[in-house]
């Protein structure tokens, strides 16, 4: 039987009466001067630009609302005034923030003999989110972001007479870009947060009442005066731009009357002063976590693409495009030199404040950091998953976790093809991602609700429904959240766990590699079938397009493509079908 209290927190007899207001505006001032010159005989072009930009972003929200006491209410407030018809549960809030950006920038373009293209840019960006001077007195606010790119059209030079080559261009570039989008303003400034207006967070340790003490906020039923408090907030004076240094070299090509074309690129991107949330060493700041520049990482990769017109007849045409990319990512430096140091990221929904990913030197950014599990059958013939004592110290703790895979695919591919046959056309685009892994948070957070003693919940008013995947995982695969023992590295069962958590089952079962699944996939993005006709009086086209018709994957969740590799109740991509007819008279 469920018993509801007579009055619940949001039981508003006359409903809730309230409003909220949000206003925002952005200002942008930008000005630049350009200069350009062409030397016709020498076939040279030059232009230059310098400019200045100022941006300002403002946000303000406020809200207010309340319920009302019933007209028949006979209660009075401490001063004896009747409460009937008066507001109760008044909530009131106001919040505002702003930030500004200033940029000086310049660009030079030079194009010589229609063969060589040189572009150099320069930016100096200042962000109000960073301190003018950090704790060492150095600039944290302004970042310098130059770049230079050179293009050489080889086919326009000594190869000009080779007609089979339509395009051959070499590109080389180097540049720096910056990131300041923390989502937080004034983070470098020490601030104090007041007790919120109309809140329930006052404390009675000061003296004086209204008029005598500005912090006075009321008197309670027993005559105690209560006051506002102020809480110092976490701040980081050293916060600065996250910078990415990119070098790349590439070739664009086209042969045989452009029937074959494409490009190949190599890039190396080094990110310095990566912005991330990090645990604060206890006692050194006003919160246990804060935003900081935590370290460096690099990405490097090769991208190749080719497009070909395979058949090109009057009534039959077949185009094919294919691209493949390889990427590698590695953390090269973190705040501490300690090789065991890591920064947690990738929050999950099991428990509170738990993470399954880490940044660790020598590993890919955001690699999964979990316990190893082994599926074993014990002497009684029960098959269960066991957690592995990886460091062999005879117990299971944090140091048994290991780096297991990461959410970023090392290899991605794409394929587009199109047939045209008389009036008919058929186009297909597909995409594949190979070697990306995903933490199945939906499964992990639902699994424990299948446990026999949790299916029925007294305080929640009875039985509740469970996720089918979780049920199958628990009873079919025997991954039992409340029956997880542990084994030594050689696979000897050390800790049996049957029954419940109270009998010593491993309680961090959700942080195990079992839930890190291979999320490689092949997705058909789009199929279009159409028919076009062109008669003397009427022309037109009829077509059917299916977007996202299917995805091939071994991943057990709804969608293998979730940014960040934590699948937590995403809204799945929908499949859409469009049939259309267009006519021209």
């Amino acid at each position: 039987m469920t018993t509801y209290p007579a009055y619940s927190y949001d039981n508003h007899y006359y409903g809730w009466d309230g409003w909220s207001d949000e206003s925002k505006y952005n200002l942008q001032f930008s000005t630049y001067i350009m200069y350009g010159h062409d030397w016709e005989p020498q076939k040279q072009h030059f232009d230059a630009m310098i400019g200045f930009e100022n941006q300002y972003f403002y946000r303000h929200t406020s809200n207010e609302g309340c319920g009302y006491y019933r007209e028949t209410n006979t209660l009075t407030d401490p001063e004896g005034n009747p409460l009937a018809g008066q507001p109760y549960n008044v909530s009131k809030g106001e919040w505002a923030t702003d930030n500004a950006l200033q940029s000086f920038y310049g660009r030079i373009n030079w194009n010589g003999w229609n063969q060589v293209l040189v572009t150099a840019t320069f930016r100096a960006d200042g962000s109000s989110r960073f301190a003018k001077k950090n704790s060492e007195g150095k600039n944290a606010r302004w970042g310098l972001f130059p770049s230079v790119a050179i293009g050489w059209k080889i086919n326009e030079t000594f190869m000009k007479h080779i007609t089979a080559v339509n395009d051959l261009k070499l590109r080389i570039g180097y540049g720096i870009t910056g990131q300041q989008d923390l989502g937080l303003d004034y983070y470098y400034i020490p601030t104090y947060t007041w007790t919120q207006e109309n809140s329930h967070a006052f404390y009675p340790v000061l003296e004086g009442s209204q008029g005598e003490n500005d912090l006075w906020a009321g008197t309670d039923a027993n005559g105690n005066n209560v006051y506002m408090t102020a809480r110092p907030g976490v701040y980081n004076t050293d916060l600065t731009w996250e910078k990415t240094y990119t070098s790349n070299i590439g070739i664009d090509y086209a042969f045989l009357n452009n029937r074959i074309n494409g490009s190949i690129d190599y890039y190396h991107r080094r990110t310095k002063d990566l912005l991330s949330n990090v645990n604060v060493s206890a006692g050194s700041n006003f919160r246990n976590q804060m935003m900081g520049n935590i370290g460096d990482l690099y990405n490097q990769g090769v991208e190749f693409s080719i497009n070909a017109v395979l058949i090109d007849r009057k009534h039959f045409k077949w185009d094919l495009g294919y691209n493949i990319a390889w990427n590698e990512n590695k953390i090269t430096r973190l705040l501490e030199d300690d090789p065991d140091y890591f920064v947690s990221c990738g929050g999950i929904s099991s428990g509170t404040g738990n993470f399954v990913k880490v940044h660790k030197v020598g590993e890919a950014a955001g690699s999964f950091f979990v316990y190893e599990t082994k599926k074993m059958t014990d002497a009684d013939g029960n098959t269960r998953y066991y957690v592995v004592d990886r460091n062999g110290d005879g117990q299971i703790n944090q140091s048994d976790k290991y780096i297991y895979k990461n959410p970023v695919a090392p290899v991605t591919m794409g394929l587009q093809t199109k047939f045209q046959f008389y009036g008919f056309d058929l186009g297909i685009t597909m995409r594949a991602s190979i070697g990306n892994y995903m933490y199945n948070d939906v499964l992990a957070s639902n699994l424990q609700w299948v446990e026999p003693d949790k299916v029925y919940q007294n305080q929640n008013g009875g039985y509740h429904s469970v996720l089918t995947t979780a049920y199958n995982c628990y009873y079919g695969d025997n991954m039992r959240s409340n029956q997880m023992g542990w084994v030594s590295q050689d696979g000897t069962i050390k800790g049996q766990a049957v029954g419940s958590n109270d009998q010593g089952s491993f309680s961090e079962w959700y942080a195990s590699d079992f839930f890190v699944e291979d999320a490689s996939f092949l997705r058909i993005d789009n199929i279009t079938l159409g028919y076009s006709f062109n008669k003397s009086k009427i022309s037109g086209r009829a077509y059917v397009t299916v977007s996202n018709p299917c995805v091939f994957t071994r991943y057990k969740g709804l969608d293998p493509e979730v940014n960040g590799g934590i699948d937590n109740n995403i809204y799945p991509r929908s499949m859409t079908t469009v049939a259309g007819l267009s006519l021209n008279f």
Partner: protein, 586 residues
Amino acid sequence: MKNYKILLVALMGLGLTACSLDRQPLDPNTDTKFNKDAVFAKCYATFGLTGQQGPDGSGDLDGIDEGTSSFYRLFWELNEFCSDEGWWIWNDVGLADIRTLSWTSSNDLVYGLYSRFYFDITLCNSFLQNTEGATDKTTLEQRAEVRMLRAINYYYLLDMFYEVPFVTAVSATKPKAQSRRDLFDWLEKECLELADDQNIVKAGQRTNKYRVDQACAWFLLMRLYLNFPVYYESELGKRDGERYGFDPYIEARDYAKKLITESGYKLHGYDEGGTIGSGKAVDLAKERTADHVFFSAYQQLFMGDNDANGAQNEAVFLIYQDAMHCRSWGGARFVVNAVRDANFVPSGSTDTWSCFRTSPEFVYYWVKQNDASKIALNEYQMPIKLKDDRAIMASKTTAGKTMKLSGNEAADFYASWSVLKFNGLYSTAESDTLKDIHGQDSIVQAPWTWTSPIGEAQWPDTDIPLFRLAEAYMTYAEAVWRKDNKNPSNADALKAINALRKRANAASVTKLDEETMLQEWAKEFYCEGRRRTDLIRFGQFAGANSTKTWEGHRAGKDKKYLVYPIPAKDVTANENLKGLNEAIGY
């Protein structure tokens, strides 16, 4: 043409100056200036609140549910769930590990508690830094009190952890760890200084019952000395050097005596005589008028008006809670709601969580095992049946059942008795139909002096007496008893313990063995968040010589469970802490 150029330059100038990058916070809820009084109030508020909104919405900590991040709730849970006093039904994160003594350094509750302590300590450090050099009386007094609050936080760190980071100033430098002995020595010195500090309010002379005075320093010293062998000579090792010429039990006894005789605080409902334990109980029932329910003196300590009904004179440190002004999911609401379901008699809150019931072992301290399952009484009847006002318990449907908390009973709220000492009623409550403990008229609905009928009705006003003078009686008894080689008939010890029993209208005890001592601690202080400490002092929590067992106590002999490990998250963030957990077996 020239005009355009001028315009251009003017525009550029405008753009340059329009939006400076030196933005100042616009949020009306924040300020960049240090407000001494407001931060001082916050230092105290950390004991009764979890953030700036109440009960949640602007929490002090990250990485833990705000409701759970309460000072009181976390230290309470980590001292009670692992003990023989009870179990929580809900499978909140990390709880299972606490109740089965199998926690690790990644336990979320341990991380939450540790983060709470260091948040409070950092706040106190910051207040002390910001008021450095002040000379006015008010500020000097505030500074002394904030030092005391910091000492209370460090005391619990000392009690619950082993080697911990030690920090007395806010700086980006990562703190170094302090050995348990060094922390003990620092705390002792700090409390001795505070006890003699001319700026601290003299014992018993405080004008605000929610602020600490000199007696609080005596109280901490009393605790430090009584537990000296645990803190200084722990089984966990590192016995480097001894302290000679010093008997901790004499010190504990003397501070206990000082608190009883000189502090101005008194046991509620008990008038002390010439020597400790020679006084007599005050019959509060006499003050009862015809239409008021009678609540025993012991019960009045834990009620909605315990800041005004006289019980406040027993509270050396009182945490404020109020339905309108001070709400937290980890204070009064927690202790009143967790232990009840909707079938219990009115508690002064319209909400119930039905998730905490006591261990059968605790019930057997009051009543024989065979009898326990035959009793089905409410919390007004139980003290009469068990002849002890402190037995504020109820058994609902245990009749005929096996009392058990694990297995099939793991989620059964009625599988053992409920402990209901905290409620939100006012002791001036008007009676109606429910029988009170003397069989008189009773109550039908939650009585209030004033409250609104909706919303606020869930929030009890019950303050939390974190330090009660009764502890000085128990400490006095235990110290003289230990000094007398645990002589079971030591008269002074018996008198002190019987003073508490007299106040509770319970028969006197005549013999004091270890088990009786431990049970008396439990009977007086159950559900006040200190059981783990008492069990450890008697060697009965974990470790080589522990013999006591209770349901859920799984790893009894393993001495590492005598303390909680430093959370893995902080070991990762602070390289000074590397290897400390390994050194004690984690």
